[in-house]
């Protein structure tokens, strides 16, 4: 009798988890994000807060600053009008799509590469930044490019949920890839000798290298990583408005000004390459 009871309890628990699974993410997705943000006069953006030059938490002022943030503000103004309010929510590579899907944020502008896989899940705007994946190593390291990593015993540090983790497995299949939570942690792990190189998009790596003189970016870009602004699948109206805003910004020079503001002084960074469409 007792045994039956415990089996019953087990089945109950299983059923509960299964039913949770069944009623999953159909929730807020079908509302019109553009209409909703126009009503509240607020666009909520998912942004990085750990990425120098793109989105970094400024401890002193308690706000996030970077190229993505300025882009987000500018696009908001052009989508909602001069009085439009941009709200920024911290995301990581791992959390940004789930947060967009459950309606916590309206759009993602967080160093997000446009890939065919992601395009099945979300809609991307046109390219707003053309990055490429590169490597960050200690200055005295023997590693010169991604081919040097393709050996047994090499360890590469990447960030969970980023395309760079997937890419580096393709380019250096023999190396071991460790995925960490965010860029700060991956870089700390590199400093602690947990890996031979850290890999992600060059813009981000240049930002880290600028702050840490003992490290430099090597090997050039070995992939193309076009960044786009992501909105939930089916939010075509919002996507079109954003595309329009980016095109306007490129035309009236705002885009070039922002690019110059954040990347103008970064040694080794090619502004022309980054602004390709």
């Amino acid at each position: 009798m007792r045994r039956w009871k415990s089996i019953l309890v087990l089945c109950g628990m299983l059923l509960l988890t299964l039913s949770l699974g069944a009623c999953s993410n159909e929730k807020s997705a079908q509302q019109n994000a553009l209409k909703r943000s126009q009503e509240s006069n607020t666009l909520t953006w998912g942004v990085k807060a750990d990425t120098r030059l793109f989105g970094l938490m400024d401890i002193k002022s308690g706000t996030i600053k970077g190229f993505d943030i300025d882009m987000g503000k500018e696009v908001t103004k052009r989508v909602l009008g001069k009085k439009g309010h941009a709200k920024f929510v911290q995301v990581t590579s791992k959390t940004r799509i789930p947060l967009l899907k459950n309606g916590n944020i309206d759009a993602i502008i967080a160093t997000m590469t446009i890939t065919p896989d992601r395009e099945k899940i979300v809609d991307f705007s046109n390219v707003y930044f053309a990055a490429g994946q590169s490597l960050l190593v200690k200055k005295d390291s023997d590693i010169k490019n991604v081919r040097d990593l393709n050996k047994d015993g090499m360890t590469v540090l990447a960030v969970k949920g980023s395309t760079s983790a997937v890419n580096v497995k393709k380019y250096a299949p023999k190396a071991k890839v460790l995925e960490l939570e965010d860029y700060a942690q991956a870089f700390t792990a590199l400093k602690s000798g947990q890996g031979d190189a850290m890999t992600t998009d060059n813009g981000i790596l240049f930002g880290i290298a600028a702050e840490n003189p003992g490290y430099h970016v090597v090997g050039g870009a070995f992939t193309n990583e076009p960044y786009g602004i992501a909105v939930d699948k089916g939010q075509t109206q919002l996507k079109n408005k954003i595309d329009q805003a980016i095109a306007d910004m490129r035309r009236d020079g705002t885009y070039q000004r922002l690019l110059q503001k954040w990347f103008g002084n970064v040694a080794g960074f090619d502004l022309k390459e980054a602004s390709q469409q």
Binding site: S6, L10, M13, L14, T17, L18, L20, G21, S24, N25, S93, K94, I97, P98, K101, D117, R118, I121, K160, G161, V166, L178, E179, L180, E181, Q185, T188, A189, K191, S192, G193, Q194
Partner: protein, 212 residues
Amino acid sequence: MINVFTQHWQELLLGFGNTLLCSVIALFFSLIIGSTFAIFEVLPYKVLHIIGRVYIEVFRNIPLLVIGMFFYVVVPQFFVTLDGFTAGTIGLTLYTSSFIAETVRAGIQAVDDGQMEGARANGLTFMQAMWHIILPQAFRYVIPPLGNQFINLVKNSSVLAFVAGFDLMYQGDAIASTTFDTFNTYIVVGILYLIITLPLSYYMRYLEKKLA
């Protein structure tokens, strides 16, 4: 949900194995270390008493994540390189052992003083009395709270995910972020954790009944 399992069973199995391995190692060592410090606390030597107190208070009151990150990124800068699995398991062991020490100490103190006095009067040394008389009774008292600690330990092993220890949670994160099927992935991961913790939970209950 079935898809997640059929397409990624290799990663999930690897993660499951690592979680299980980490849990077994941490359980074994934290039980030994914890019991040792518990005995330190009831010994009549002041120095040992203080050492035990400091150890317990330090590791009990620092978040596990901080201890794990310490062994992963700080220790390698000064001493020896530890991979994520080792660093996480060491952190988990130290963290859990402080809780086990407190639990076992409570058990030892719950045993009637007369037991120790009687054993000593019959010619046993302090350590003999502790080993043969006090500890067996103490452990019987603390089986329910110990069971809690063991279950917590298994769940806390997910700290490995943050130091690239290739455990179940790490693999879950990796699968969720490549398939974007966050919901189902974490449900599968949750069920896999249940497969470890539920039998443990039932076994502790069985043990409690058998020894009571």
